[in-house]
């Protein structure tokens, strides 16, 4: 467990409080979920998914290829044409409600598996990811028979087969964000989870199977990038929804060009978190911590660029360093843990590469002294001060627990600095002054603005970016438009 050597007063530690794993059911091997059945991959290949907290193998998962994707798309097309698009909308709603309820019943199991497979802390899986995922289904279920109210003066139609590709940072939650609105609007789905975190999507497939949802309405095809590419390039997929990096998003946007497919992209970010001198500093410090270290910084909207007003910068940075020393890094299953495991070895290498670049560029690094478990992938929470706007670490998305700190004097200056990025996903503003909040929320070019809070999500609340952070919204009324055809 972590020790905190540089806290002078008392050295103490929490007693471990491990979440049990005895109640979860994981198979040794998972096949593809196609047309309501578990199907072996046509290549016969499987790949391992590990627990990034200790590198132990959790299960083996099918490696879907083009043929498997084709089967899934055919099943989805058939289910779309024969069942799902012709079913009364109110019945469609009831199926989605049922999925939400079954997920709630198995919430604890889902949370533990999410933590095992993704490395995120159990507190977060239990209190944020899984409840939000359940609620997303519950929320969109009710839209199924009310769509015409959402689009005044338009006739609403479903699109057809939706191909959905999701990332590893919020595996179950992203599956819910994608599947729930697609189904509510009358589409059928082929979904590919990320290769490092396929398990909760497969558990969701079990739940969907148990719900009695007609075969083929939701198909889950696990695999790697080539599996995703097969979905994107399949000629009978009508809509692509992707959440992931801006680089891959651009590849998909290009692949879809000229094909007439509907596309939504939820991509990367380099979001500004702005602290004014009149902000309640202690709350702001908590907001900074939550903004960048939530989910080990594996968050597309992470507040990774901190802007502190110059006259309170010393105070804020001192408090931040103090707070960093009280963060608890370790076993994600431990309920005390604040910072869990980095999702994969590959991602840890990426983060370490950026930390190295940051130091080479002349920024000053600060990391708390904390012990790092011997096995597994971990990165201590990291601050960089003395950062210039031109530094790589202030421009590129790191997707890890690394915060850059810059200062500003005036409102205009910080607006310019915050907007000076190709991204536009989110931003945070901390100030006690209401008029200033409205000024900033109007002028910051980003899709989500958290004022005196950060990293909050809700099924009713639209989420998505400006500029190179992608297009389309997920959540809320606006999230529906990604899955309907308006005539």
């Amino acid at each position: 467990m972590a020790t905190k050597k540089n806290i002078p007063v008392v050295e103490w530690d929490y007693a471990p409080s491990l979440e049990g794993t005895s109640h979860i059911q994981l198979k040794k091997q998972y096949d593809l979920f196609i047309d309501g059945k578990w199907v072996k991959p046509s290549s016969g290949k499987y790949f391992q998914t590990i627990n990034p907290a200790n590198e132990e193998v959790l299960s083996e998962v099918a490696y879907g290829n083009e043929n498997d994707v084709d089967l899934a798309v055919k099943a989805a097309r058939k289910a779309y044409a024969e069942v799902w698009s012709v079913m009364p909308a109110a019945e469609r709603a009831k199926y989605i409600y049922r999925i939400a309820r079954l997920m709630q019943e198995r919430a604890r199991e889902l949370a533990v598996i999410e933590t095992l497979d993704a490395g995120k802390t159990i507190r977060e899986s239990r209190d944020i990811d899984v409840p939000l995922a359940c609620n997303h289904f519950f929320y969109y279920a009710g839209w199924a028979d009310k769509l015409e109210y959402a689009f005044p003066n338009r006739k609403v139609e479903s699109i057809g087969v939706a191909g959905q590709i999701i990332p590893w940072n919020f595996p179950l939650l992203m599956a819910a964000w994608k599947i729930a609105p697609a189904l509510a609007a009358g589409n059928t789905v082929v979904l590919k989870p990320a290769e490092t975190t396929p398990l909760t999507a497969l558990k969701l497939a079990e739940i969907i199977e148990a719900s009695g949802l007609p075969a083929g309405v939701v198909n889950i095809v696990t695999g790697f990038g080539d599996t995703g590419a097969a979905i994107v390039n399949h000629t009978d997929v009508d809509k692509i929804a992707f959440t992931g990096s801006t680089n891959v998003g651009k590849i998909i946007q290009k692949a879809v060009a000229g094909k007439g497919k509907k596309l939504t992209l939820e991509l990367g970010g380099k979001s500004a978190n702005i602290i004014f001198d009149d902000a309640p500093i202690d709350q702001a410090v908590e907001g900074i911590i939550n903004g960048i270290f939530f989910n080990q910084g594996h968050v597309c909207c992470a507040g990774s660029r901190l802007f502190v007003q110059e006259n309170v910068a010393d105070k804020v940075i001192a408090k931040l360093k103090d707070r960093l020393n009280s963060l608890y890094l370790g076993n994600p299953l431990d309920k005390n843990t604040d910072i869990g495991a980095i999702n994969s070895k590959e991602q840890l290498e990426t983060i370490n590469k950026y930390i190295k670049i940051g130091k080479q560029e002349g920024a000053e690094m600060y990391q708390p002294t904390c012990s790092i478990p011997k096995k597994g992938f971990y990165c201590p929470p990291t601050l960089f001060t003395n950062v210039a706007q031109s530094n790589v670490i202030a421009q590129e998305e790191i997707f890890g627990p690394v915060l850059t700190i810059q200062t500003f004097r005036t409102v205009d200056e910080v607006i310019q600095k915050a907007n000076n990025t190709p991204f536009g996903l989110a931003a945070g503003v901390w100030t006690d002054k209401g008029s200033r909040i409205f000024n900033l929320t109007t002028k910051l070019r980003a899709g989500v603005i958290w004022a005196n809070t950060y990293n909050k999500f809700d099924p009713t609340s639209p989420f998505g970016g400006y500029k190179e952070s992608g297009f389309g919204r997920e959540g809320g009324l606006h999230g529906l438009s990604s899955y309907v055809k308006l005539v």
Partner: protein
Amino acid sequence: MERLEVLKTYKIYIGGQFPRTESGRYYTPVNKAGKALGNICLSSRKDARNAVSAARKAFGGWSERAAFNRGQILYRIAEMLEGRRSQFIEELILQGSTKKAAEEEVNLAIDRIVYYAGWCDKYQAIVSSVNPVASSHFNFSVAEPMGVVGVIAPENSSLIGLVSLVLPAICGGNTVVVLAAEHLPLCAVTFAEVVNSSDVPGGVINILTGSNKEMNPTLSTHMDVNAIVYGGNDAVALKELQENAVLNVKRVFAYSNNWAKSDAQGLHFVSDLQEIKTTWHPIENIGGATSSY
């Protein structure tokens, strides 16, 4: 002796001014009867870049104007166009329209501008939302303009196509760089003159004439253009625009409506060019008062 007619020089419109193309190039489209329409500026990449700069510069002020004020300015465009009806009708006839069709097109263009003028201070109330989040936060989503929009006007119409695509964009607070119909460019230039006398700030609407083949790539690869609206019906051209858009994740909208129809207008042409921004703020929940107030 018969009076010698003064011919018009057709120029482009950038940042509220009427330069000739910096390239010095021109082209001479002809009508069906083989009559030359004039020497039209064959705009260059540099002209396009200047136009985008002007549009970006104008964006802040235009997007932050009161919606009511934008509505008045759009209405003013309709007033000015009404006053120049005969000039547009003549140009449309010269470009191949019958007199009746030309009159109808101008009437519809004026009415459509009035239609979008009315939307300026209304669309927000319809497309925004207050979201009942489960936590103790006030949460709302509003529409905000995307920024600089490149508009590639339909090739088969000189006036109504351009009006149908430009008006919803600026109604929503965007600024535009328009490429006029290559072979029917006259009304676009005259429309620029209408805009210029209509209280529309310089740079909000910029109009270029020239070649689709040259200008489409320039606009769609420009890193400071946020969205492209394509009014043509060439699948190859659309694919190229969509591929180029990838560079900075531009939004591309392709419309193939028959703009001459009176119902080829609507809220969605405005809302397509809006981003949705969601704002969260905590609600204080520490007092003693409860629902019994």
